[in-house]
């Protein structure tokens, strides 16, 4: 069974590294990490992920905008996105509406469950 490709975009490098380590440890996932929002789209094009874990609050470019680019890319428009967020602000509610999210901090179990639930079928 081919490994599922997970792209995690978060400005917190320690976090993305641990997500990569933890998920790859299971042997079921191949994880690509990216810490800068503006580069998210080009990485996604190259990596062609089965799911994107996307941090909402990032400098340079927020998760919302990155999600919009992905959703507007004809090749990537069906790639499921799960938001990662520490705080859901009122202003962000419309952005994430319809998009599942994981509140940080999150346990590995919950993360895997969420990933499994939302993987591109």
């Amino acid at each position: 069974m081919a490994k599922k490709r997970i792209l995690v975009i978060d400005d917190e490098q320690s976090f993305t590294r641990l997500v990569k380590l933890s998920l790859e440890e299971t042997g079921r996932y191949e994880v690509m990490e990216e810490n800068r929002g503006p580069r998210g789209l080009s990485i996604a094009r190259k990596f062609n992920p089965d799911l994107v874990l996307l941090d909402i609050a990032m400098p340079d470019m927020g998760g919302g905008e990155v999600a919009a680019q992905i959703k507007n890319d004809p090749d990537l428009k069906d790639v499921p996105i799960v938001f990662l967020t520490a705080v859901i602000k009122k202003s962000e509610e419309t952005i994430i509406s319809g998009i599942p999210y994981i509140a940080k901090p999150v346990t590995l179990n919950k993360l895997i469950m969420c990933v499994e639930d939302n993987l591109r079928k």
Binding site: E12, S14, F15, L18, V19, L21, S22, E25, A57, L84, A86, V87, K89, K90, A103, K104, P105, V106, T107, L108, L111
Partner: protein, 583 residues
């Protein structure tokens, strides 16, 4: 009488002579007897002042002669000398004598009858004689001597003398009086005045006596004076009265008179005696006093009026002050109420500010805290999975770390509630439903602590508009606190009802509210903590068992719903929490 019995024509010459002799003899005898028996002194003297006749009385009383014959041919002086010689040691024994001779000379010289007052000592005693002496004329008109008679008036003269002295004395008294003294007849004619009277009116005695005193009195007083005088009678013989008098030059003075009526045997007034004194000064003084009194009374009246005016003014001021005070009291009372309300409001503001700042802080830091927490969480799990053969204590450390992350995350999550509470969606709902939902969430805890639930939920509550999730959160908080405070079990009472507000406070008077009361039988809240229970992070639970944000969040939620939450200790122990919603 015998000697007058016969007549000349009836007798012969010798017989007639004899009869005449007898007649004369008889006559002499009778005359002699008459003279010797009369008590007056009788005598006759020749031109040489020698006695030619004396009676018995002069012999005894003056001459000290042994009989009526002895003095014949002798003078008064003979006897005077004899007496003096007989009593040489007493010069006062006999001083009578010379005076008699002198008066003889006077009569002989004047050749007419005269009266003399003759006196002197006889036998050492004072003798006073009222003596009449007259020349003796013979048939030819020749003076042949003197004849005299004397009557003893020693006693009378003494009385007269004393009377004279007495009168003099009284006169002196009268004259020396400073009072005016006068006597007058019923018709007003003056009969007596003293010197003072004269000098007072500046008139001579003779100009006053014999004239009426009325002209001395001004016209206007005269009838009054007359009336007063006429009022005197035997029953009231004395009166005192005052009137004015006119002095020379027309000067008017005031006099006071004391009139005394003098009556005759038939009680008829014959005269008045009057004593008067000048009272002008007194009158003037009285007048002055009267004016002074009038002036004083006027002043007193004016001052009284002034004072009562001032008094009235003062009363008005006092009344005004009283009113002001009353107003001030009212103002003070309302200020106190306002102060209390302000204090409360301030507390609420402080509380709100605290919560607000906590909310802002939470929102600000939550992101920064949660990201590292996420890293730690992932890291701890990664390590745990990677070293499955870790020893017991290392595993425990990793577990502790994971718990710590969870706790830190819970705190940040609760804090975030503050920034979200105001952003709620309201929906129509029944409070009872929310309460039951909340109870079901804590049911497990209630059973665990063996706490019995007593519900008393009113079926007639008005529907409320609120965020069901938030209100549910409030009740869960309340229940969890109650459960925590009742480690030994007990009863948890839940009651709902609706009421009208009757006292001013958070709600307006007569506003309808739905009330939920939760009572536990637990430990209650220490008095020192009761003010802080709504403070964020205030908790009595042990570390890790509570964030201290439950009630702070509940309060904020209630406020965002326009409601109110109150927590107080029950008298019988435990805590009563009241939640109120405006309908």
């Amino acid at each position: 009488m015998k000697h007058r019995a016969g007549t000349k024509e009836q007798l012969k010459p010798e017989e007639s002579l004899r009869k005449n002799e007898e007649l004369y003899k008889d006559l002499y005898r009778v005359v002699r007897l008459m003279c010797d028996n009369v008590s007056d002194l009788l005598w006759a003297k020749d031109m040489e002042k020698k006695f030619i006749f004396v009676n018995k009385a002069i012999c005894e009383k003056l001459l000290n002669a042994k009989d009526a014959n002895e003095p014949i041919g002798k003078t008064d002086m003979f006897f005077a000398e004899r007496e003096r010689k007989a009593n040489p040691d007493d010069p006062e024994w006999h001083t009578f004598g010379e005076i008699c001779a002198d008066s003889d000379s006077v009569v002989m010289k004047s050749r007419k009858a005269e009266r003399f007052d003759e006196f002197g000592n006889v036998k050492g005693e004072y003798l006073n004689l009222d003596v009449y002496k007259a020349p003796i004329w013979d048939e030819h008109g020749e003076m042949i001597g003197t004849v005299g008679c004397g009557r003893e008036v020693t006693r009378e003269r003494k009385i007269e003398e004393e009377l004279r002295k007495s009168e003099k004395r009284y006169r002196a008294i009268v004259e020396d009086q400073t009072e005016l003294i006068c006597r007058f007849l019923p018709d007003g004619t003056i009969t007596f005045v003293n010197e003072t009277y004269c000098s007072y009116f500046g008139k001579k005695k003779e100009d006053l006596i014999g004239h009426s005193f009325m002209p001395l009195i001004p016209d206007e007083d005269r009838s009054m004076v007359r009336q007063r005088i006429n009022s005197l009678c035997s029953e009231t013989p004395v009166i005192t009265y005052e009137h004015q008098v006119i002095l020379p030059g027309g000067k008017i003075r005031w006099m006071c008179w004391k009139d005394h009526a003098i009556f005759d045997d038939k009680n008829k007034i014959i005269e008045y005696q009057s004593v008067g004194w000048d009272i002008t000064e007194r009158k003037e003084m009285e007048e002055t006093l009267k004016y002074a009194k009038i002036g004083l009374e006027q002043q007193v009246r004016e001052r009284t009026a002034e004072l009562s005016l001032k008094n009235e003014q003062r009363m008005r001021e006092i009344e005004e002050l009283r009113r002001t005070e009353e107003r001030l009291h009212k103002t003070l009372a309302s200020l106190r109420v306002a102060h209390e309300e302000l204090k409360l409001a301030q507390l609420q503001v402080v509380q709100a500010a605290k919560m607000e700042s906590v909310g802002i802080l939470a929102a600000g830091v939550a992101h920064e805290v949660k990201n590292p927490l996420a890293t730690i969480q992932m890291g701890v799990e990664y390590l745990s999975n990677r070293f499955s053969s870790l020893d017991k204590s290392s595993k425990m450390v990793l577990q502790n770390m994971e718990d710590a992350v969870y706790r830190a995350d819970s705190i940040v999550r609760d804090l975030l509630e503050f920034s979200y509470i105001n952003e709620v969606d309201f929906e129509e709902s029944q409070l009872n439903d929310i309460i039951l939902q909340s109870i079901s969430l804590v049911k497990h805890e209630l059973e665990k602590k063996n706490i019995k639930l007593e519900e008393n939920l009113s079926r007639d509550l008005s529907a409320l508009s609120f965020s069901t999730d938030r209100i549910c959160q409030v009740f869960v908080n309340i229940f969890l606190n109650a459960i925590h405070a009742s480690p030994d079990g007990g009863i948890l009472k839940v009651r709902t009802y609706e009421k009208k507000i009757t006292t001013k406070g958070h709600f307006k008077i007569s506003e309808n509210v739905v009330v939920a009361e939760v009572e536990d039988m637990g430990e209650g809240i220490p008095e020192e903590d009761i003010m802080r229970i709504f403070d964020p992070f205030f908790t009595t639970k042990p570390m890790g068992k509570g964030t201290g944000l439950g009630l702070a969040v509940s309060k904020k939620i209630m406020e965002s719903h326009g409601g109110k939450i109150e927590i107080m200790n029950r008298k019988e122990g435990g805590v009563k929490t009241t939640v109120m919603f405006k309908t």
